[in-house]
């Protein structure tokens, strides 16, 4: 009764704000729905991609803080402090208010969006609930905690900005240190095992915010609450910097099919010859880093692979390489991640070239020397999970596990555009190719595998993941010829094969007595 009574008061004070925020989210959802899969209205697309989500997120943030500020905890002038209002009930009311009137409209918008796009109600409900829980824990709770340790919006802005500035400084310093260490301080964040830091962060955010709310609403310890926010903020940042090796060890423990990759081996094989870039350009622009003042040299080491199961893909999540001379390390750096796929069980296993990037100052002195290179791999084996297909021309299919997909040719008529939407998450790894349904002829598959296959999803409350890919059938330059070309599109289908991670494993490749200069890209 008390909770409902306070709820009504808060609603009376905040209803315009609540409605404005709900409208923002609903406009976003309606625009997304209107855009459909191909989103060809650029104005609406820009609105839905940038302006509206940004505005809606900020407005939601301010609304959540404002809910706390209606009965601000810090300070000595608030009237509610001298009223017989149970603080536990006040806290419950605020959380309920945020859940019902902030998360509620977003939840409803997501259900509308999912159902309107043809997804099953039950699946939409599950996805919307999951999204709402994550949004409540990762967004509502921390911003409500921020509101609880500040008296007004100005205070919240200053305190929040200070925390963000400190956080940015720490992360920026960590990045600088990583650059200085040639990318060897790689962390588990933004990688295939990012679910570990994300799960830890989720837990820490929920625990930290709950602790702050307990301190504030039951003890009014604002200074302690602010220190808890700062402290947990630092710990959460530290989790972002979680070292790779222990995180990958956890990942290995949770492998879906441990030892599925037991037979996978890599070995240096000089007979494979030097790497030749298909485009003829060995060094891509991404490698040019003028701020280091040292343009890198790219070396490609040929590797023979064996033991990769059929219909599998191996992705190197991380490569640590060492250049050694007489057992002493001369250089330690991070190698480029690579992907090796094998279609069917009879296809030969493809070679791979491990790209390593070396500062020119080091390379110039070392390229003619005989050195040993050791590469420590953290790898993931993906196994084929499901296969789908839909017509290559104007196809539209709803496929369980893949979502709703449509196809059309691009304006240049060089590729089939595949656009899909799926509840919650996009597939993490897929190969796509065109297949002539009459003749069975296939184009070379194109792999699209995200290096991040963990549980992570953005805390933004959009329940639908949208993803797209282009599947080429004509090379505008005329250099490449495709078995399935534009003339066969009417009788062709786009085949989509989804892969799931099955095993995580480590391998070490040691290459004794090589001259790096012999393997520089042409």
């Amino acid at each position: 009764m008390t909770i409902w009574h306070i709820f009504k008061k808060d609603l009376r004070l905040l209803w315009p704000f609540v409605i404005a925020v709900a409208i923002l989210w609903w406009i976003e959802v309606v625009i997304l729905f209107r855009l459909g899969l191909f989103g060809e209205n650029p104005v609406l697309a820009n609105l839905s991609l940038a302006l509206l989500p940004f505005t809606a997120v900020f407005a939601t943030m301010f609304l959540v803080v404002a809910i706390a500020h209606l009965d601000a905890v810090p300070g000595v002038r608030q009237d509610w402090l001298v009223r017989p209002i149970p603080r536990g009930k006040l806290l419950l009311e605020k959380l309920l208010f945020a859940l019902v009137l902030v998360v509620g409209p977003i939840f409803a918008a997501n259900i509308f969006q999912g159902v309107a796009n043809g997804f099953a109600v039950r699946e939409v409900l599950d996805a919307a609930t999951e999204g709402a829980v994550i949004f409540a824990c990762l967004f509502i709770l921390p911003f409500f905690a921020l509101g609880s340790v500040t008296e007004n919006m100005t205070g919240a802005f200053i305190f929040g900005s200070a925390c963000a500035a400190v956080g940015t400084a720490i992360l920026s310093s960590a990045n600088d240190m990583n650059d200085f260490a040639h990318g060897t301080i790689v962390t588990a964040a933004n990688s295939g095992i990012s679910w570990i830091p994300v799960t830890l962060e989720l837990t820490l955010v929920a625990v930290g915010a709950s602790l702050v709310l307990w301190l504030q609403y039951f003890h009014r310890r604002t200074t302690a609450g602010r220190f808890v926010i700062a402290g947990f903020g630092v710990v959460i940042l530290a989790v972002q910097l979680l070292p790779w090796k222990p995180a990958f060890a956890i990942e290995r423990y949770f492998s879906a099919q441990p030892n599925a990759a037991a037979a996978v081996e890599f070995a240096f094989d000089a007979r494979l010859g030097k790497f030749k870039s298909p485009s003829g350009v060995a060094r891509s622009l991404k490698n040019f880093q003028p701020n280091r003042g040292d343009q890198p040299a790219d070396v490609f080491l040929p590797l023979r692979t064996s033991g990769i199961p059929g219909d599998s893909i191996v992705i190197s999540d991380r490569v640590d390489f060492y250049v050694l001379s007489e057992g002493r390390p001369l250089y330690h750096g991070a190698g480029e991640s690579a992907q090796i796929d094998r279609t069917g069980t009879n296809s030969p296993e493809k070679p791979a070239y491990q790209e390593i990037e070396l500062p020119m100052s080091f390379y110039a002195g070392a390229k003619e020397r005989s050195v040993t290179v050791r590469a420590d791999y953290s790898l993931t084996l993906f196994g084929l999970a499901k296969s789908y297909s839909l017509p290559a021309l104007n196809g539209s299919e709803r496929m369980p596990g893949l979502g709703w997909c449509q196809t059309q040719t691009n304006e240049a008529e060089t590729a089939v555009e595949l656009h899909c939407m799926q509840l919650s998450r996009a597939p993490i790894c897929a190969t796509l190719f065109l297949e002539n349904a009459s003749t069975g002829v296939q184009n070379p598959p194109r792999s699209i595998c995200s290096s991040n296959y963990g549980l992570s999803r953005p805390p933004l409350p959009d329940v639908i993941a949208r993803y797209a890919a282009n599947i080429p059938f004509r090379d505008a330059t005329g250099l490449a010829k495709y078995p399935v070309d534009g003339s066969q599109l009417a009788e062709s289908r786009v085949v989509i094969r989804l892969y799931e991670p099955v095993d995580h494993f480590n391998r070490t490749v040691t290459i004794p007595e090589i001259r790096l200069g012999d393997w520089e890209a042409d």
Binding site: H5, K9, V76, R77, D79, L81, R83, P84, R220
Partner: protein, 295 residues
């Protein structure tokens, strides 16, 4: 209600007798508001303790708060609600809320119930705070600088509203204006820089202070030995004046003559409350010592 040692409020100990109208007097920054906020558990003392309605102030619960009325010049209320909406909001939290009494107070204070709190003048806000503090007939009414910035007319309306409903309630009122508590307070405590200078009933206080004028046959000089109860001793021409802080009708003449020779006449006058406080405050500052009844 008891109150003991605090760092910010050094050596502060006082009791507010039940049923009294207890005035805490002191200049701005004397510690009055801090004291009240500690009593209401808005501020937590680092040391010492305060007891309100028999409960340690740090553990004060909604049950006690439902019996305490609180009116402060610095009370933040939801400015976007109307007076009526806020009263409607508060009502269910108080089991003893009397709607008839609420209506009568609202009429008496001439409060515009439909007006937003943010649009109220300072005086109106204070009256509204009173409206939100009285209808549940609190056992204890705490008024923190309630008259600050009020014009005389509003002050009188406020006091009428308050006194009519006072009944058996205990009132703790803080003010830096002596005139405001004159005729209201039954007891008084004087705070200076976080210290309690004295605590006494108003009757005793006004009864024991006298301004004494001694006319001499010769030119007056300050006596070598001055009793500690004689304050602000001055010699001008053949007249010696002082404030007697422990006045006794029968004993004054003897006390004066035993210390001063050539006394032609002694005249004593009751002092206004303001003069008493001014005298005490000066004595405190001049001596840098506590001045308290019995010391």
């Amino acid at each position: 209600m008891g109150f003991e040692r605090f760092d910010a409020l050094r050596g502060l100990t006082f009791d507010v007798p039940e049923g009294s109208a207890f005035a805490m007097i002191g200049a701005n920054g004397a510690g009055k508001t801090t004291t009240i906020k500690v009593l209401m558990n808005i501020l937590e003392p680092s040391r010492g303790s305060a007891t309100v309605l028999g409960v340690d102030s740090r553990t004060i619960s909604p049950r006690e708060l439902a019996q305490i009325g609180y009116v402060s010049e610095n009370q933040d209320m939801p400015t976007r609600l109307t007076v009526g909406e806020y009263v409607d909001y508060l009502r269910p939290f108080y089991p003893t809320w009397d709607r008839q009494l609420e209506g009568s107070i609202a009429r008496q204070l001439r409060l515009p119930l439909e007006r937003k709190i943010g649009d109220l003048s300072h005086g109106m806000r204070l009256k509204m705070a009173l409206l939100c503090a009285l209808p549940y007939r609190p056992k204890l009414l705490i008024l923190d600088e309630p008259f600050s910035g009020l014009d005389p007319l509003v002050r009188d309306e406020f006091m009428e509203g308050l006194l009519e409903q006072a009944g058996e309630m205990t009132i703790l009122i803080s003010s830096h204006e002596l005139g405001e508590i004159d005729g209201v307070a039954t007891h008084v405590a004087f705070l200076d820089e976080g210290r309690l200078l004295f605590q006494e009933s108003m009757n005793e206080l006004t009864g024991r202070f006298r301004e004494v004028q001694v006319t001499l046959e010769i030119e007056a000089v300050r006596p070598a030995q001055i009793p500690k109860d004689w304050m602000q001793v001055r010699a001008i021409g053949n007249v010696l004046t002082f404030v007697d802080a422990r006045f006794e009708e029968n004993g004054l003449g003897e006390a004066v003559r035993s210390r001063i020779s050539g006394v032609r006449g002694i005249d004593s006058k009751p002092m206004a409350l303001r003069s008493i406080f001014t005298t005490l405050a000066r004595a405190s500052r001049d001596n840098g010592t506590r001045w308290k009844e019995g010391q």
